[in-house]
């Protein structure tokens, strides 16, 4: 009974570790995509859309700044969570 549970737990651990590794591998790819110009345009509105009204044009730089720093901050938070889980899950390797 306890043996079964231990096996189950270790299987769970392995699945959990695999998942964490996958996230660790995918995170930088997501980061690269989010910092590519076309994706930035999707979230901040391209020049073509903003030239229609003078209002959009005047907040373009702000939107870009907020977007870039926002993504940056989000990536840092994700990396922090990941590092935390990796340490939790892998122990002192």
């Amino acid at each position: 009974m306890t043996e079964d549970r231990r096996v189950e737990n270790s299987e769970k651990d392995v699945r959990r570790r695999n998942k964490i590794i996958q996230i660790a591998l995918i995170l930088p790819i997501i980061g690269v995509l989010l910092f590519m110009t076309p994706i930035i345009d999707v979230f901040t509105g391209s020049d073509g859309a903003s030239t229609a009204g003078g209002e959009g044009d005047s907040s373009r730089v702000s939107r870009l700044v907020i977007y870039i720093f926002g993504v940056w901050g989000l990536l840092i938070v994700c990396a922090y969570a990941l590092a935390h889980f990796i340490r939790f899950s892998f122990g002192d390797e």
Partner: protein, 906 residues
């Protein structure tokens, strides 16, 4: 305005403080108090050496000139660190297991420990770092000139830069080359760098907070001003945005100083986990106030003011002396930390890959443990540090210190990026070869130098202005900024494209057509499968416990020997209780002791594993393999010997069996002899008794009895004669009376001796005339005795009708075979051998006139005559014996007659 003298005083105090921090850290490291020094926080902070004066001053200038593009320089490293699981973890693990000391060492090690590659990467790194060091000197000079600008007695910028370079060289020499550490870690310097990281972050944040809330009306106000002041973001739509992110991501791996801090100075992989988020956070904080400072600088500073200096000039503009001084210190920290780490990294590469190989080659010394090498290393590192700073200074003087900081930094980035293809292919592609890496790096290096580095001197160094404008030898397709006639507007993208294309292309192509050496293949496997291997624990210093050494020694030498050795060493070292100190000398001695048991290479590898966590080198492996081969050969010999022994044992067993058998036969023989002797003795005794006691015995009976006694006596004598004869024959004491005679004589003698018995039994003898014509050299009496025995046996054992005995011959090889064939019952196959044993008679025959010694005696005779006697199978009824005689015994004159032997008529 802050007084210039006060500024100098602040600087000096700060430097003294740095010295103290570094010295304390060194001392704590020596005492093995690593708790704080090796914490991930210090590691992360030291990585911020990435943020140099270029970041501190240059980022604001960059933002003021090109808007958001400056962010690319920090987004690239952020992505690399967030993706640490891909690359950095691998690099750190390789760095620890392979004892990598620099990026040149890494590349050289991966491609079969090629020193040529090490030299090339070192040269590339030194060249690429020169503009970067010049950038730091330039920013320091600029920042000082801000304060000294109004003074009459101010030193010239060139002189300031010179003083700075010398001061930095001094600090680096003191803390960067204090000792040759086994793993090239510099705790003092790293701690000082971490401290400087805090200073520059606090300084920039202080200026930023002051600008946002002191000068402007908070973030919203800044946002509004940003829309008007910052250039419109076209750069985001040019290829520059992505290119620069790639370039900065490359730089964080390939710049020699970044590799030094991230990989070489790393003491635990866990630190990387923290750095993966903490370093991006640091960059984030460094960048967050750059735009506000740039915007406010553009708005408030007079037209033509250098935007690179907004960080200093803005606080000064508002007469904030404290913030300005802090900002100055921040800039000072940024510049000094970069120069110090870069100088250490580059000097390690120069001394390890250029000076030391040259020195070893020149002195033919091959003893890397001797103090000589250490002093050469230390001296060469000190000289390299000075030389590297001198180069940076010269670049500064040549370029005149006028270029924008960011563009100088990017030149260095592109140069360092040339290492990336070799590095990545080395880590992930097994087929990548040394030749490919050399070709790729050299090609990239040349293109970078020709199209970006040399033109940056604006025609004052090697390349003249006309070459820059019109191409080498006036060939337009060799114009540095438009190679192959392709003009790309941005020289940075132009050179990055061509150099990377050539670099990557050559590595791939050359690797595919060239063959890696054995060492290259081995190293490639080690690098690519770095996580398949068991992690080799390596502490930050080579510490080995005496207990471990004792366990090892005990395992190999035995408990008593090991205890004796350790006790002896302990008393020599003056240690009264417990185990001796694990000094180098002791380890060396132990290794020697152990090599007596397990071989030198194995002992070295074993002790090395304990003492340095040292990876086993290929040479050691090969030596171990040699020893193994020897052991295998030895064991094969043992196996052979063991087989021989087994065979001998079997022979002995057989011999033993034979002896037992012989002993049994001897016993049988004795009992047979006594039995054979007793029978005639008994009849002699009883008949002589009758004659003596019976006085009235008549004459006829007397005669009869006497003749029986006579016969029995004769039989007794015959028996004793035969036994004597046999014993003579067997012991080899027989004397043969050899002379030439004919076989006719021999057979005649035999027939006359058996004439009585053959006449009685009406036997018919068929003789062979051609055979009998032969003359032979033999003992006639002995040979005829053989014939006699055979004839008597044939007659004795015949059953139905008169016996017919045929003598015939043939020639087989070198032997003359004489056959004596009879028409008796024959001899069963299983008894054909037995009949030659003593006292053996054919089974089922109770006939006892013979003593059973005839055939054994005949066999002995034939063997003494150099021939043989055996029973051969026949196709007809009856027994057939074959007497073999060697041809050498046959007279030459008659040899021809023997050509066709056939039995002839009587």
């Amino acid at each position: 305005m802050l007084s210039f003298n006060l500024l100098v005083a602040i600087c000096l105090t700060y430097v003294v403080f740095l010295f103290i921090v570094a010295a304390l850290a060194e001392r704590r490291a020596e005492q093995n108090k690593f708790t704080f020094l090796t914490s991930p926080i210090v590691y992360t902070l030291s990585i911020s050496v990435y943020c140099t004066a270029w970041t501190f001053y240059g980022a604001v200038g960059y933002a003021a000139r090109s808007g958001l593009e400056f962010l690319t320089i920090y987004i690239g490293p952020t992505l690399v660190f967030i993706g640490w699981w891909w690359l950095l973890r691998r690099l750190v693990r390789i760095g620890r297991t392979q004892r990598i000391t620099s990026i040149a060492d890494l590349i050289s090690s991966r491609y079969g420990k090629s020193n040529l590659l090490g030299v090339i990467v070192t040269l590339l790194a030194v060249t690429a770092s020169t503009p970067y060091i010049a950038l730091q000197l330039q920013s320091l000079t600029l920042s000082i000139s801000v304060f000294a600008g109004d003074l009459d007695n101010a030193v010239s910028p060139a002189l300031t830069a010179l003083f700075m370079a010398m001061g930095l060289a001094l600090f680096t020499v003191i803390f960067g080359t204090r000792n040759i550490n086994a793993n090239e870690q510099h705790h003092g310097v790293v701690t000082a760098i971490a401290f400087e990281a805090v200073v520059k972050l606090v300084a920039l944040l202080a200026v930023g907070v002051f600008v946002v809330w002191g000068v402007a009306d908070g973030p919203l106000d800044i946002m509004t001003r940003m829309e008007q002041r910052l250039p419109q973001q076209e750069s985001l739509y040019s290829s520059r945005w992505a290119t620069l992110i790639f370039l900065s991501a490359t730089a964080i791996i390939c710049l020699p100083r970044m590799f030094q801090i991230v990989v070489v100075e790393n003491s635990s992989e866990r630190h990387l986990a923290m750095a993966s988020w903490a370093f991006p956070l640091y960059l984030f904080l460094m960048c967050i106030f750059v735009l506000p400072i740039a915007v406010m600088g553009l708005e408030l500073m007079p037209e033509g003011a250098n935007p690179d200096l907004f960080v200093l000039t803005l606080p000064l503009h508002f007469d904030q002396q404290g913030i300005a001084a802090l900002a100055f210190l921040g800039g000072f920290s940024s510049a000094t930390s970069m120069v110090i780490v870069a100088a250490i990294a580059l000097s390690t590469m120069v001394s390890n890959h250029i000076v030391l190989p040259l020195w070893l080659y020149m002195t033919q010394r091959r003893d890397p443990e001797s103090d000589d090498v250490r002093s050469v290393l230390l001296r060469s590192r000190r000289i390299s540090i000075a030389a590297i700073l001198a180069l940076g200074y010269l670049y500064y003087i040549f370029t005149g210190g006028t270029t924008a900081l960011a563009s100088i930094g990017l030149i260095a980035f592109v140069g360092a990026a040339q290492i990336l293809p070799a590095l990545l292919f080395g880590l992930f592609w097994r087929q990548a070869t040394r030749l490919g890496a050399i070709m790729g790096i050299v090609a990239g290096f040349i293109i970078w130098a020709y199209s970006l580095f040399l033109p940056s001197f604006d025609g004052s160094f090697i390349l003249t202005q006309s070459v820059i404008d019109n191409g080498l030898f006036g060939l337009s397709f060799l114009r540095p900024y438009a190679l192959f006639g392709v003009s790309i507007d941005d020289p940075l993208i132009h050179v990055l494209f061509w150099s990377m294309a050539a670099n990557t292309g050559l590595i791939v192509l050359v690797s595919m057509v060239s063959h890696p050496s054995a060492l290259e293949r081995l190293q490639a496997l080690q690098f690519i499968h770095i996580f398949g291997q068991r992690a080799q624990g390596r502490t930050s210093q080579p510490i080995v416990a005496s207990e471990d050494l004792f366990i090892l020694a005990q395992r190999i030498l035995g408990r008593q020997e090991a205890t004796k050795l350790f006790e002896k060493t302990a008393s020599e070292q003056g240690v009264t209780t417990g185990l001796p100190e694990p000094t180098g000398e002791f380890i060396h001695r132990l290794e020697r002791e152990l090599s007596g048991s397990v071989g030198a290479a194995t002992a070295h590898a074993m002790v090395g594993q304990l003492a340095g966590g040292e990876a086993v080198s290929v040479e050691e492996l090969i030596a171990v393999a040699d020893e193994t081969a020897q052991i295998m050969e030895y064991s094969a010999q043992l196996e052979k010997k063991s087989n021989e022994l087994t065979a001998t044992a079997a022979q002995l067993r057989r011999a033993n069996q034979k002896l037992t058998q012989l002993s049994q036969q001897k016993d049988d023989f004795l009992s047979q002899v006594s039995h054979e002797l007793r029978t005639p003795m008994t009849s002699i005794r009883s008949f002589s008794e009758i004659i003596r006691s019976d006085e009235s015995i008549d004459r006829d009976r007397l005669i009869h009895f006497s003749s029986i006694i006579n016969e029995e006596s004769q039989r007794l004598t015959r028996l004793l004669d035969e036994i004597l004869d046999l014993s003579f024959l067997e012991s080899g004491r027989i004397k043969l009376n050899l002379y030439t005679t004919t076989l006719k004589d021999v057979i005649d003698q035999a027939l006359s001796a058996t004439s009585v018995i053959s006449e009685d039994s009406k036997a018919r003898i068929i003789r062979d005339e051609r055979l009998e014509a032969m003359s032979i050299i033999t003992d006639r009496d002995r040979l005829s005795q053989v014939f006699i025995n055979l004839i008597i046996n044939s007659i004795k054992y015949s059953e139905d009708g008169p016996p017919v005995i045929e003598i015939s011959h043939n020639r087989l090889g070198d032997d003359l075979n004489i056959f004596v064939t009879d028409n008796g019952p024959g001899i069963p196959f299983n008894e054909q051998k037995v009949i030659f044993e003593k006292f053996e008679r054919l089974s089922g025959k109770s006939w006892t006139t013979g003593v059973g010694l005839g055939l054994p005696i005949s066999l002995e005779i034939m063997q003494h005559l150099g021939g043989d006697l055996r029973c051969v199978p026949t196709t007809t009824k009856g027994a057939r014996f074959c007497i073999s005689l060697p041809l050498s015994a046959i007279g030459q004159t008659h040899a021809s007659v023997l050509d066709t032997g056939s039995p002839a008529a009587e």
